[in-house]
């Protein structure tokens, strides 16, 4: 049996999502099996509840970026990645 290793993911929150969490940044350690933003979000909303549930519910209207590039919910995460959740962009 291969024991799944742990990986570190640095999660960033912006705008309304940052306010929802009350923090801008959170570093987590998870098993490598939660290897997509979607899986990770589901895992955290079950485990930690609170704003994670709200985030999961509004998933369709929020964007996710891995290492500062817009990504899909089922893209892979790897150790050391920077993961960001944010609402629609309204600059300019």
């Amino acid at each position: 049996m291969i024991r799944s290793r742990k990986m570190k993911i640095n999660i960033l929150f912006f705008a309304g999502i940052r306010e929802m969490f009350g923090i801008h940044e959170k570093c987590i350690e998870i098993k490598e099996s939660k290897t997509s933003p979607e899986k990770l979000l589901k895992f955290l909303s079950e485990k930690e509840q609170g704003p994670w549930v709200e985030l999961l519910n509004s998933k369709d209207s929020i964007s996710v970026a891995i290492n500062q590039e817009i990504s899909n919910w089922d893209d892979s995460l790897k150790d050391g990645d920077e993961l960001a959740f944010f609402p629609p962009i309204t600059g300019g």
Partner: protein
């Protein structure tokens, strides 16, 4: 290529003179400046006190560089300058400037509009409007996405 994300005010005349330095081929400069507007009085009773502009450092710069490289692959340009303010901004403060220098004006017009259209939908900035009645994050505009999409069919 210059990209600035800053709190402080910018001066368009200064940006243009920096941009033109040692570029005798520049025949045209097209600039766009976007400003903080108050709410539309016809449909709103509230009054804007100020705006807070937040961004994603690192990703913002990456995104803007990509937009600029994209523009340079489509049009012959001499140089591009993008500046975007963050933090607290008051009504009628300038928020963003896109300045494009080229030999001929058509390229500068098209590239400048292209860059601001993509900045609006792709660069990670968020605006919060603080009015005399409430504090709300600005929602994204359908027309911005339509404007961006229109570049595919031009």
């Amino acid at each position: 290529m210059t990209i600035c994300i800053q709190k402080k005010l910018f001066n368009l005349e200064k940006i243009i003179s920096d941009l033109r330095e040692n570029k005798p081929n520049v025949g045209a400069i097209v600039s766009f400046i976007g400003y903080v507007r108050d709410f539309n009085k016809d449909i709103n009773t509230k009054k804007l006190k100020h705006m807070n502009l937040e961004h994603y450092p690192g990703m913002t710069e990456k995104t803007l560089i990509n937009i600029e490289l994209n523009a340079k692959s489509k049009w012959s340009l001499e140089d591009v300058f993008i500046i975007h303010r963050v933090g607290k901004l008051l009504p009628s403060d300038p928020i963003v400037a896109v300045v494009v220098a080229s030999q001929h004006r058509k390229n500068a017009f098209e590239a400048c509009e292209f860059i601001i259209d993509f900045l609006k939908t792709d660069a990670p900035f968020w605006k919060k409007e603080i009015s005399d009645q409430d504090e709300l994050w600005v929602e994204n505009k359908l027309e911005d996405h339509q404007k961006k999409a229109s570049w595919n069919i031009r």
